[in-house]
């Protein structure tokens, strides 16, 4: 009798315990589901906001003339056409423009990433009296946009002499030796080589933050093994900074690709693709001659051709991003770019 009672009490006790346990599990589950629900709603909403412009572009770029004023066409056009892309290809001189962009972009990206990494390392790991002041100046150079100094820079590259050597020669021969670097990609290469390219200061800042948070043990070990500062940098720091390098490189590619202000100033011919896009509207009359369109047609086509052009300019970046993004996000995860 007694033992049965005890057993019952025990059972009751256990069942209460079970109840509490199940309750807490249920509560946790509900919380988790709510969290998930919130997460996915948020992501869907954000996706709509962020993808809207591209979806809009795609929807419009494939539209034929008939669909432009058809109120029943909202997203999916009834008459799908590739004509807009053909016209945009003609107006942008797409292959040449892409070639011009790449000639400017590839060396610039490599030079810029390396130089910024080096300077960032210098700021992060060496102490010297004037470092703080120079770093303050670096911050200042980030916020002074190129517009402030573009006119003097234009003059500088029109009559370029390396480190005033040309002018020194000029003092002797009476005729300064200068080179006209406009309409070549050299202004970009030179600016990047001296850490003054598009947003170079920002990348220096990013690399400095990154190196500052790397453990010092690696360098100490290298020093003990007899590495000088430069070989330590090349052999130890660079391989360890892969994540930061990839991220900065992605940014440098994007910003060089998208730049149009500097390119417009330094180039009159050999225009890169971004500049071609800005003048696409003014070149619409080319279509008139080539296709025999009336000016009304041109007016109608104006926006769809521009939208097709936008897509074509973005396309290489988007492809690069889709291919590279997995590697890119993984590398962030592995090493982190900024501590």
């Amino acid at each position: 009798m007694k033992s049965i009672k005890v057993l019952k009490l025990d059972q009751i006790h256990q069942s209460i315990k079970m109840d509490e346990l199940t309750m807490s599990i249920i509560r946790k589950n509900i919380l988790r589901i709510l969290k998930k629900l919130f997460l996915y709603t948020f992501i869907v909403c954000m996706s709509y906001i962020l993808l809207y412009p591209v979806l809009f572009l795609i929807s419009n770029a494939f539209r034929a003339k008939e669909d432009l004023f058809d109120p029943s066409v909202i997203w999916i056009p009834k008459h799908i056409t590739l004509a807009n892309f053909e016209y945009a290809n003609l107006l942008l001189s797409y292959p040449t423009a892409i070639k011009n962009t790449l000639i400017m972009l590839i060396p610039s990206v490599i030079i810029q990433t390396f130089i910024c990494m080096m300077v960032g390392y210098g700021f992060a790991r060496f102490r010297f009296p004037e470092r703080e002041i120079l770093f303050g100046i670096l911050l200042f150079t980030i916020i002074v946009p190129i517009q402030t100094i573009i006119v003097p820079l234009y003059v500088k590259f029109r009559y370029f002499d390396f480190l005033y050597l040309g002018r020194l020669i000029g003092l002797i021969t009476g005729k300064p030796l200068t080179v006209n670097l406009l309409d070549t990609p050299w202004p970009f290469y030179i600016l990047n080589l001296f850490g003054m390219g598009i947003r170079s200061s920002l990348y220096i800042f990013v690399f400095r933050q990154f190196f500052r948070n790397m453990p010092t043990e690696l360098e100490e070990a290298a020093k003990i093994d007899g590495c000088g500062p430069f070989s330590t940098f090349i052999r130890i720091m660079v391989p360890n900074a892969t994540g930061a390098i990839i991220t900065v490189m992605l940014f440098t590619i994007v910003w060089h690709w998208n730049d149009y202000y500097v390119s417009t100033m330094f180039n009159n011919e050999n225009l890169p693709v971004s500049v071609m896009l800005t003048i696409l509207n003014t070149r619409m009359s080319m279509l008139q001659a080539a296709q025999g369109f009336s000016s009304d047609d041109i007016y109608l086509l104006g926006s769809t051709v521009l939208e097709a052009g936008c897509l074509m300019v973005m396309l290489p970046l988007i492809i690069m991003y889709i291919i590279g993004q997995r590697y890119f996000t993984e590398s962030i995860e592995r090493t982190g770019i900024v501590g």
């Binding site: 997460l39 962020l50 102490r127 916020i143 001296f194 590495c227 070989s231 521009l306």
Partner: protein, 310 residues
């Protein structure tokens, strides 16, 4: 090859002539590392900048021998501050806008980065979407888009686009008895959501990377000690990502001020395109003195609170 020659140089210095102290040697190498930037700074920044400042005291005209200068003293500055109808107005409004837009961008980026940090189904997709603005937001495409496509022909780059305007919200809020200034403020932010999300791609990226860099052991200790999620965030996560948040704040401020859509920047560019380089330089230089002061203040306030592990 390079390593050898440099080491030799170093050895000569050490043995041959004066023996450099460790500190002096470190300083020398530091200067060598930043040398390219230093040359660039002088040749491609300071000299052109001084030229630009010189322009502000001149009147430029296109004569027979190219540009011609006439000294006019402070005329340009006086014009900017007393006669230009837009400059002071645009300057103050862009500073006040910055004061609330940057915190929103930062909080939003931390929030999104925190969401994207943990593993869940479709995370790769979500990340691809969230970093997408980084690729096109910086460039000519978005300007063209805003001017010709989304903004229905209005030239207000940087203003809210028509799809995400909340005109009715203001009326609802005012009718509900909410103070007018507050509802204006909320509506303003809602109108800018599109713009702000497009601007936080880089910041999300930076903060996400920092989140992944926090050692897991910190959290393990915290769980053993019985810390709640809230405590974990404020006592571990936030201090650990503070250097990056600091970078993100500076970046956002700069990005806001140098954006092509910023009203003052637009004035600067328009004046330069109209050939009034001297006035354009004047506006730009006054502007960047102001921005520099703001950055220094922010640096003073935040810089000290940043936690560096090493």
């Amino acid at each position: 090859m390079k390593k050898f020659s440099l080491n030799k140089l170093n050895m000569n210095r050490v043995i041959g002539r004066k023996k450099l102290s460790l500190r002096e040697r470190e300083a020398m190498y530091g200067r060598l590392f930043i040398l390219p930037w230093l040359i660039g700074l002088v040749v491609f920044f300071i000299v052109p900048f001084i030229d630009s400042v010189y322009y502000t005291f001149q009147k430029l005209s296109f004569g027979d021998n190219g540009l011609e200068f006439t000294y006019i003293g402070l005329e340009n500055y006086i014009y900017a501050f007393t006669k230009d109808p837009d400059y002071i107005k645009n300057l103050t409004s862009s500073i006040t806008n910055m004061l609330y837009e940057v915190p929103i961008v930062i909080v939003f980026s931390i929030f999104v980065a925190y969401l994207l940090k943990d593993e869940f189904k479709g995370r790769t997709y979500a990340r691809t979407i969230f970093f997408f603005p980084v690729i096109i937001a910086s460039g000519v495409v978005i300007t063209v888009l805003k001017e010709n496509v989304l903004g229905s022909g209005s030239n207000m780059v940087g203003s809210a686009t028509t799809i995400f305007r909340a005109e009715n919200l203001r009326a609802v809020m005012i009718n509900a008895g909410i103070p007018r200034w507050f509802s204006m403020y909320v509506v303003d932010i809602v109108n800018k959501i599109f713009d702000l999300t497009w601007r936080s791609g880089v910041q999300i990226l930076l903060i996400l990377a920092a989140l992944h860099n926090i050692p897991k052991s910190f959290y393990e200790v915290a769980i053993i000690e019985g810390a709640t999620e809230w405590e974990k965030f404020w006592k571990i996560t936030f201090p650990m990502i503070s250097p990056t948040v600091y970078v993100a704040i500076i970046y956002s401020i700069i990005d806001y001020f140098t954006d092509y859509g910023n009203q003052v920047m637009r004035m600067v560019v328009t004046q330069a395109n109209n050939g009034r380089f001297e006035y354009s330089s004047t506006l730009a230089i006054v502007y960047f003195v102001v921005v520099m002061i703001i950055i220094l203040i922010v640096n003073r306030i935040i810089g000290k609170r940043v936690v560096y592990l090493s």
